[in-house]
């Protein structure tokens, strides 16, 4: 297997993974999304809420905030306390949430929670818990997706190639050494305009052993941490299977 980073922007990373199969890639995708623990607010005690939003409404909003998590200190089921105490008039932002552990903080600092009028007060004690995406989406650490690497098969003359390159709506084709190459395969959405423009001489085929793997973290963990942890979780599951199956079938 060979992994190459082909694109990086903000929280998003695209990897080109060659020499593997769809089963493994999908197993990693699924564990990354639903089995990697991350912190999210779970329980809350609302001592005071004078605002126009209901307690449940505020609770749901707080739960969805991604929290920066250190996986070395927070294992599955670990808890940490947070407090939100504000007085109006003001727009209460996610950065107003104080945590007892300074390493834990809200990722997006300017998410509005609730608006308070003169003399309105809000006082909420919260408990964040490390849990997995299978339990609730708020514990999903990232968006993960893959698609098969597209390849153009067949031959065309230089004149035809010009037509084909012009037909691509994303402008990602190039003519190199008598062949048409997809210059940025991660941008190709398999629209098939190149096939039509070549009048059947070219064929757009998805590869069965190379993939473009996209991971976009919500910020609680880094992309690197998520992938490493998902492999760890997958390994532990396989080990468990191995120890359970030993000696069961003769």
């Amino acid at each position: 297997m060979n992994i190459k980073k082909v694109f990086e922007e903000g929280n998003e990373v695209k990897l080109l993974i060659t020499g593997t199969n769809i089963a493994l890639i999908n197993a990693i995708r699924r564990t990354a999304m639903s089995e990697v623990p991350v912190l999210a607010i779970e329980d809350l005690a609302i001592h005071r809420n004078d605002s126009v939003l209901f307690d449940e409404y505020i609770g749901a909003r707080l739960g969805l905030l991604p929290l920066k998590t250190d996986l070395k200190t927070y294992k599955l089921g670990d808890k940490v306390k947070l407090v939100l105490k504000e007085k109006g008039p003001k727009m209460v932002l996610s950065s107003d949430i104080k945590c007892s552990d300074p390493s834990v903080e809200v990722v997006n600092k300017e998410v509005p929670i609730v608006k308070l009028r003169d003399n309105e007060e809000i006082f909420i004690e919260m408990q964040a818990e490390a849990n997995i995406g299978k339990e609730h989406v708020k514990w999903q650490p990232a968006l993960v997706a893959y698609n098969e690497m597209p390849k153009l098969e067949g031959k065309v003359s230089e004149r035809e190639a010009k037509e084909v390159i012009k037909s691509c709506p994303k402008k990602i084709l190039e003519f190199k050494a008598g062949k048409i190459i997809i210059e940025k395969p991660y941008e190709c959405d398999l629209c098939g305009y190149c096939e039509i423009a070549s009048k059947g001489k070219l064929k757009l085929v998805p590869s069965n052993n190379s993939f473009i793997f996209t991971i976009e973290t919500y910020g609680g963990l880094t992309n690197q941490e998520i992938l490493e942890k998902s492999v760890e979780v997958l390994e532990a599951k396989c080990k468990e299977f191995e120890s359970e199956i030993k000696g069961k079938i003769k």
Partner: protein, 64 residues
């Protein structure tokens, strides 16, 4: 009422972008341009900001 914290479909946090977006659009800029600038690529996230109606300032007046 108030901008949702996350996109309903993909889960990207978009709550912190709404006021920047609204301010720029208020100045008369093209929403498409502003959304691109904020780095919102998917149309699920784009509709969250485009179709939002901020009502909390209306409701807040009537609290006892």
């Amino acid at each position: 009422m108030i901008i949702p914290v996350r996109c309903f479909s993909c889960g990207k946090v978009i709550g912190d972008l709404y006021y920047k977006f609204a301010e720029e659009v208020q100045k008369g800029r093209d929403p498409k341009e502003v959304l691109d600038e904020l780095g919102i690529k998917r149309y699920c996230c784009r509709r969250m900001l485009l179709s939002h109606v901020e009502l909390i300032d209306e409701v807040i007046k009537y609290k006892v």
